[in-house]
């Protein structure tokens, strides 16, 4: 038998030792080795054959091994009996230390609630526009252009482009749909007049955007004198009556017949809130001149659905030069220099990637999806950290249990299983509580974030996600205690010589530092967001917003009867001033190039905001003059007068611009020479964070807005009914529709205020969760050192001494976190502020306040426990045992 020396492969022995149940191992390995030796003897030197046969032998055993593994009584006994024991012990542990359990479960529930809410929010953000069936093939045609080496991006296109794409590039598209002037219009059913948001869309629009028709069909817009209404629009106009075939008057001059009603588009659709669509042909019939403007005048949206065989990149490269190819060298010279380039912006990106910088996508809301996603993850992580910290801190108390379990025969694997199932129990409880929290706070969150999120109780995905969420959280939260506790040495634990080393608390400290770093960073962030908002709010706006209201001039009657209206309004005694302008005070609706002046650098191109105003405009809005004078209705020459804002005056570069002349040749109206009569302080009409646009005010142009200044001594509630009465009497065709300038201006801060509010909520929550954890740790440490404190007291330590001793550890940790958080926050927020051209500075006091605040809260949290144990009677703590 010694003829064959080689042994069977060692690794197979090792493998079997691992996977084979121990009661079978000996005989199986013995069999294998003996058989191998027998075969080896027979086949002599043909080792390879012996090895091959050996592998067959091993494989033949696998079935036995696997079957006995799963059916062994030994295993069954463990899984059933022990599981109930684990749960029992876990439950007893929870109820025995109610305080800790509350901190554990409450903190985790809070963290999970935040994570769920943020998850729902992200889901909502990502679901935008997916309700349109052709979602992945629809795009909007966008245009890049270059002015003074800076690329701008816009969605407005010329009418001719839609026709050109349809006729010459038709094979690339399934549909090309132009949409025009989506804004408020008057819809009138006899005397019932309403302002409804709507627009003109080409007849294929309902098909392309797959509107869900309740009445009529998607072909409803084929007749040029038709209109389709949204369900809510129809209800507003007709109540429960069937609106089909009824006639409406659109903007007081167009008769349209209702041919369809579509289901309201959901809140996460691009066309959300639009109450009607009228055929584009109707608009075109009234404004045929738009076809004469060629490719130079951009005023409508072009949406396309590309055909199945192609993709967005290919179509973009096909159509990018369409405008340039259609511009002629003479009339559009200036526009050719802008180099207009078309590209497709896919529907999937409309909502989250809506911003462009230098012609490239610059993100948009997606940044907030990331930001809040990360914040949510952090809040959850902080709650998990609490759980881990409290469990490991209490490990010494449970060390004896672990010791006994190990002595009786628990394998380490089983202990890990025990602690994981314990954490799973806690996570399940927390999840239940967090669901309650979420459903209670969801409506409040919807208000805050202006959303309409609902609890997806019915959704299978939600429950699947929740299940994996529970498992992952349970695993993360339970992994550290499970691995740590199960590593205890049983003999030492039971003998009482078990001592947690100095290093054992290190991971705990690291986790506390991490928690407070996140919290302090968030607090600093919140303060800076609010400071930025306040900074912009405090910015001088250059006009008076109070008591100022504006009324859109919706119909031609406003223009024809303006004088009558003005007199009547002034006669009421509540209106101090009345004037007209092009566009509202809180936005710039018109801008043009084509200006020339003395000493202008020839190639320098600049767009000025061009705003038509009436003579009383300045008086009404209360602008402030730096130089020169206001328009005057008495001077006929003022019709060629022009007023500049400060920025525009700087661009002109004259030391004394008043009296200089400006030549304006925009291309679409006759060239004319203007004379500068005054310079005003910049008025903040657009974003309060951006530098003001260079603006010129002139008198001889089109106006569409009436501004009324109410006398300061008259209250608004008194003035409004009077104004309404006059308006109704003078222009009965238009419903009374107005906006307050100060309210409109406040809306400019809405987005930032929303971020600020959300950020502050999250900051408060992170601080709260961190403190909860700290409180638990502090009380644990105090309890652990009860005897030490007792002895110290007996030896003469004062309460202050003890308080300092117990608090110092935590104070140091929080100080370290502050030192990490401050540069981190500085870096992040500096980046954020880079987005704004008009921005606050990050001053040192913010860091002091945040760091100090964190320290203060820490002291408060820890002191409660420290003082409580320092005041305790030492006899009580030393007597027992």
């Amino acid at each position: 038998m010694a003829a064959f020396n080689s042994k069977p492969p060692k690794w197979i022995d090792k493998l079997l030792e691992r996977i084979c149940p121990s009661y079978l191992l000996e005989e199986i390995l013995g069999d294998l080795h003996e058989r191998y030796a027998l075969r080896a003897e027979r086949v002599g030197e043909a080792k390879a054959k012996a090895k091959r046969q050996y592998m067959r032998e091993v494989m033949a055993y696998m079935r036995t091994i696997i079957l006995s593994k799963s059916s062994s009584e030994y295993n069954k006994f463990i899984s059933m009996g022990m599981l109930s024991n684990y749960l029992k012990v876990a439950w007893r542990n929870l109820t025995k230390n109610l305080g800790y359990s509350f901190i554990n479960i409450g903190g985790l529930a809070l963290g999970m609630a935040v994570a769920i809410i943020i998850g729902l929010w992200i889901h909502d953000e990502l679901s935008f526009n997916k309700n349109h069936e052709n979602y992945d093939r629809i795009a909007r045609v966008m245009r890049n252009g270059t002015l003074n080496a800076e690329t701008f991006t816009t969605n407005y296109e010329p009418y001719a482009l839609g026709e050109e794409l349809r006729e010459k590039y038709g094979s690339n598209f399934e549909h090309v749909v132009m949409v025009m002037s989506v804004t408020e219009h008057i819809l009138a059913d006899d005397d019932n007049k309403l302002y409804l948001e709507g627009g003109f869309i080409e007849k294929e629009g309902p098909e392309m955007f797959t509107f869900n028709m309740i009445e009529g069909t998607r072909k409803g817009l084929e007749d040029p004198h038709s209109i389709i209404l949204s369900a809510s629009g129809a209800r507003a106009l007709f109540g429960d009556e069937n609106p089909i075939d009824k006639t409406l008057k659109l903007d007081n001059n167009l008769d349209v017949k209702i041919t369809g009603v579509y289901e309201d588009l959901p809140h996460n659709s691009h066309f959300q809130g639009i109450s009607f669509f009228a055929p584009f042909e109707l608009y075109y019939a009234e404004n045929e001149w738009i076809s004469l403007q060629g490719f130079g005048n951009n005023f409508l949206d072009v949406y396309v659905q590309i055909s199945e065989q192609t993709d967005f990149e290919t179509v973009t490269s096909t159509i990018k030069d369409v405008i340039i190819q259609n511009l002629d060298g003479s009339g559009n010279k200036g526009y050719l220099e802008v180099n207009p380039q078309l590209f497709l912006h896919p529907m999937a990106k409309w909502h989250l990637y809506s911003e462009f910088k230098n012609g490239k996508s610059a993100g948009g809301l997606i940044q907030f999806v990331w930001l809040f996603g990360i914040v949510g993850l952090f809040v959850l992580l902080l709650a998990c950290i609490n759980f881990m910290n409290l469990n490991t801190a209490r490990s010494e108390k449970r060390a004896k249990e672990v010791g006994i379990r190990k002595a009786i025969g628990s394998a380490r694997k089983q202990l890990i299983g025990q602690f994981l199932s314990e954490s799973l129990l806690v996570v399940c409880l927390s999840f239940y509580i967090s669901l309650v929290l979420v459903s209670v706070s969801l409506s409040w969150f919807n208000d805050l974030a202006s959303k309409q999120i609902e609890m997806p109780w019915q959704s299978v995905e939600f429950w699947l996600a929740s299940l994996s969420f529970i498992l992952i959280t349970g695993f993360i939260a339970g992994s550290y205690p499970a691995l740590y506790l199960s590593s205890f040495h049983p003999v030492r634990v039971l003998k009482g010589t078990f001592k947690v080393g100095r290093l054992a608390s290190l991971p705990r400290k690291v986790l506390v530092v991490f928690q407070f770093t996140v919290s302090v960073t968030l607090v600093i962030g919140t303060i800076i967001v609010f400071k930025q908002i306040q900074f912009a709010k405090d910015r001088p706006v250059g006009y008076t917003r109070e008591n100022l209201l504006s009324i859109p001039m919706m119909t031609s009657e406003f223009h024809n009867k303006y004088e009558v209206l003005e007199t009547a309004l002034l006669n009421t005694g509540v209106v101090a001033e009345s004037s007209q302008s092009l566009g509202s005070l809180t936005g710039i609706g018109s801008s043009n190039g084509g200006f020339n002046w003395r000493d202008k650098i020839p190639d320098f191109q600049v767009e000025f905001a061009t705003i038509t105003v009436s003579a009383d405009y300045g008086e009404t809005v209360g602008w402030e003059f730096l130089q020169g004078r206001d328009f005057s209705s008495e001077l006929a020459s003022d019709s060629s007068g022009i007023i500049l804002n400060e920025t525009a005056a700087k661009i002109l570069g004259f030391e004394n611009p008043v009296g200089e002349s400006m030549h304006w040749e925009p291309g679409w109206r006759e060239a004319k020479d203007y004379r500068v009569i005054g310079v005003i302080k910049d008025m903040i009409m657009q974003s309060p964070y951006a530098p003001p646009m260079p603006t010129v005010f002139y008198m001889d142009g089109y106006t569409n807005m009436i501004h009324l200044k109410i006398k300061p001594e008259v209250s608004i509630s008194e003035a409004l009914p009077q104004i309404e009465r006059v308006l109704k009497e003078t222009i009965p065709s238009a419903p009374f529709n107005f906006k307050f300038a100060d309210q409109e201006y406040a809306l400019k801060f809405a987005a930032e205020e929303q971020i600020g509010k959300l950020a502050s909520v999250f900051a408060v929550l992170t601080i709260f969760i961190s403190c909860l954890g700290l409180f638990g740790l502090a009380s644990f440490v105090a309890e652990q050192r009860t005897k030490e404190i007792g002895i110290r007291k007996i030896l003469g330590a004062s309460v202050i001494n003890l308080w300092r001793m117990l608090s110092l550890d935590f104070v140091i940790l929080v100080l370290i976190s502050s030192f990490i958080a401050i540069p981190l926050a500085y870096f992040l927020l500096n980046n954020w502020l880079e987005n704004y051209e008009y921005k606050t500075e990050i001053s040192w006091w913010i860091f002091m306040v945040s760091g100090g605040g964190a320290l203060g809260i820490t002291l408060l949290t820890v002191s409660f426990q420290a003082i409580k144990s320092a005041l305790a009677n030492p006899i009580k703590s030393l007597r027992n045992e």
Partner: protein, 145 residues
């Protein structure tokens, strides 16, 4: 060995104010065990154990069968059959001595129980009866080589 896989379950019923205790003891092995459960391979393994007794263990049985049947028989297959037979109560086993070629490991020695003995006898009885009833010229001639 018959009591493997025992499952007991106790409850009581209240019927006309008297309490009837019900104890259910299910022995799955007994329920499943029927005569027909002896497979062909199990039968030859059982017989080989009888041949090799008292030195019958997996490797010896496998070697013997390999010689008798003329094809490769793995120890694993024999081991599985032995386990099954033991579970059915036809075999009983004890650990034997260790040998050098087993790497100092002990082997499991099998011997036939009374039930096993009855089983092989019954099987033989059935076969004999069948052989006895085959007519003289029914089976075609062939060369046993």
């Amino acid at each position: 060995m018959l009591l493997r896989g025992t499952f007991s379950f106790g409850t009581y019923l209240l019927y006309e104010n008297r309490r009837y205790t019900i104890n259910l003891i299910l022995n799955i092995d007994i329920f499943l065990m029927r005569r027909s459960d002896l497979g062909e391979f199990e039968e030859v393994v059982l017989l080989t154990v009888a041949v090799l007794s008292p030195e019958a263990y997996s490797v010896a049985v496998a070697e013997e069968l390999e010689e008798q049947l003329g094809r490769m028989i793995t120890t694993g297959a024999v081991h599985a059959a032995l386990q099954r037979l033991e579970k059915k109560g036809f075999l009983t086993s004890k650990m034997g001595e260790a040998t050098q070629e087993r790497g100092g490991r002990r082997k499991r020695l099998f011997s036939i129980t009374v039930a096993g003995s009855r089983m092989v006898h019954e099987v033989r009885e059935v076969r004999n009866r069948l052989w006895g009833r085959i007519g003289p010229d029914t089976l075609p001639e062939f060369n046993m080589g």
